[in-house]
Point group: D2
Chain length 253, copies 4
């Protein structure tokens, strides 16, 4: 990493939420970043201007995030956004805002865990070389949905890669199945969801062909696992004007 | 292991079948065993007497195994049996035969892979100390049934151990499930069946409680994985008159 | 679990330390236990008598633990002790104290993580059935010692079990080794220590023989992983007068 | 895969060796390939011309491979080569031969297992995003060298990727190490070599940063695991005139 004469000036929106506090800690711990503003719902966004923030991190709420982004884009501040609720309409609105501020960059990502993003990318890249592929995702037992959102996306990317390469479905001679044993089918890819006390968030993609298997496993031990991805975004977003969706483009694979 | 002055004299029934040939090889490779008879369907059982076999290994067919056992028990020869099809009726018949030959031992086991037997035993022993338990079994894609027979038995043993200890079902907050994602329920224990080219036969029992997990995994790489269990049976059966069902009692855990 | 008419009355010594606070939380969360006293270094032990504590949990310091135990034993209170520093001299002193209070039980254990204890037990039980065994332990990179204490003990128990069964060393044809590649030798058992950011405390025992392997893996995700073992001790110690060393006897395997 | 009007005509050199026989079987099992010549040391290379072979597979010996390649290149036949012993001199000679036959393609690869190649590639791509990385390779106990050649190359590629990104060494606070516990250092990357009966050839790359880990594991179950990589080479080499070293360029990642 090249020498940085001046640290990047960072503001955190949603600074008193659980994730926001973690982001403040992460920014303060990074030598090349300076935390200049902690903003929560009762605080004025003007503080960002007064403190000369260069990049904001937004983990707030779908109800307020668009107002936040309008403000920062208009004031020439870049943004790294983990708030949920970005459908195509919202992304289109965001592109409109950015058209008027061609030097500003905004990164919106559904998942900032670098390992989750790399896992998906590697699984998709490998999928066409293997006869078989299945996904096992494993989470704590308080999770309401099965499969996880990440597993859905992983299976979708795998299925797409295999279709594009003309690879058929994974072979399966099962004729006698106890209901549910073979998992759920997401776009033709089998996904198994384990729920176990003691676990946090884990996923394994298994790929196999005659005589060999390849396994790509991601283990997320705590909520801080997205911090390195957010900081990567903070460091890179100034060099990427316009809208960037997902962490992938920054990984430069 | 104590010194053995004389090797044990072993006959193999079903000696020209795939498993039988493997058993002959395994006996020949063992310094403390001597292969004295290879019997297949056109060969006379009298050869066992003529060659003074002390123990037979029977991997034949449900149609002939009872005749084989009648012969060897009557001639005072011990038997280690991997042939399938032993229901309670057959075991009862066998107990009757052995009642008239109190010095003869017969071992009938559905699974001679020591690792499979140990896995089940350990899983059952650990099950009551953990809030959650699930089973993942992974096999080649030519397998017709899901879950595997071993996974059924493992889940059954786990469920029984938990009931006896008064432990309830594993916690699970799933409210939105894509059909099959959470696997099959075997006696209240979730079982997931993966089918993947490149795999052979594998099983993982996952146990979890607050802050920790325990995983017991068995990998069977080839058909020879039952050989050490059969040879253990051959060495021990003379010291165990009567009927022994399953390899467990010999493992002395 | 049978119905408990009255909760067990528990006192925690070292109640303001990190571990002590966690223990207080765990006791309060358990329906069959009642936290009656939180004692730290400036508090009088008499409180235990005044609050009619039946069992104490002691995670204090080697300098004070013996005084604590003298007091509770003399007052007929059982103890579950995780404080370190118990050599044979101290255990002997403790046995002496208990000789005068035959109804009191004290449990001293170096490791209360049930999974760690089960792993060691299972590894030792399986060790004599396999040609090969190696241990991989994986921890966060702030750990000063390699291998971990648990890995030392695991390897020692494995080596002892193999010696008693007359099993020789694991086969190894290595003739060209880059220094350190084959790990450390603990009592003839190879142990490999991985240090990796993102990990907490994990251990894998790999056992293998022709055609099959058995893996016993323990993952400890946070400091709370010892709580279930301590609570097990609290519930069982009244039924075990005298000194009990290690959690094993309570697991009833 | 697009429709192939005519199967590719394939000759196998070293056809009676263990690997060569496996290659013949693999070619015969592929619908889009036709095995037209099986050549071993006493057979004339002219057969390749007579049978109009388009591609040869060469798993022979360092002593004869250069003569084989001279012949096939001169006769306009492409080659996929797994024979060992290609140093820079030999590759240079090969480039010279190919300069005179600009339409011919030759692929020389040290490792045709697609999973091994993908593992190395993914590990190198991910290495700069993680604080820590270590390699565990696990093999059968008859292996003479530790670490394996694949582990050496994997560690080398990881080290290079980290140097290029300016990432320092993995953190390690070990101050008390039993000799060998922390593995071997290959170019600054720790490598651990497990040797265990029942295993074949396996490798795990572990990458970790605060709160998350990524694991890339490759399991090779039998000698046939290189077949899909060789067949991929056979299908693609006609479209890649000149010398290609390693399977990587064909994977198009």
């Amino acid at each position: 990493m090249s020498k940085v004469s001046e640290p990047i000036r960072v503001g955190v929106l949603g600074a008193r939420g659980k994730v926001g506090r973690a982001m403040c800690d992460a920014v303060e711990a990074a030598a090349d970043l300076e935390l200049v503003a902690r903003i929560d719902k009762d605080d004025a966004l003007d503080t960002l201007v007064a403190t000369q923030a260069q990049v904001v991190i937004d983990f707030t709420h779908p109800d307020v995030v668009m107002d936040n982004l309008r403000f920062v884009v208009e004031h020439g501040i870049h943004a790294v956004v983990g708030t949920t609720g970005f459908d195509e309409d919202r992304l289109e609105t965001l592109r409109g805002l950015l058209a008027d501020a061609p030097q500003v960059g905004v990164l919106v990502a559904p998942n900032f865990a670098i390992g989750a993003v790399l896992s998906m990318r590697f699984a998709a890249a490998a999928a066409r070389f293997y006869e078989s592929v299945e996904v096992i995702e494993l989470h704590h037992p308080h999770k309401a949905d099965a499969p996880s959102g990440t597993a859905y996306r992983t299976a979708g990317l795998i299925a797409q890669a295999r279709r594009e390469a003309g690879v058929g479905e994974s072979p399966d001679a099962t004729t006698a199945e106890l209901d549910g044993a073979r998992g759920a089918s997401v776009d033709g890819v089998r996904v198994h969801s384990v729920r176990l006390a003691g676990l946090i968030a884990h996923q394994e993609v298994l790929l196999g062909t005659e005589g060999e298997t390849l396994t790509i496993r991601h283990d997320s031990m705590d909520r801080m696992s997205f911090a390195p991805g957010v900081l990567l975004g903070v460091r890179e977003i100034a060099a990427r004007p316009g809208l960037t969706v997902g962490l992938d483009p920054l990984l430069d694979l």
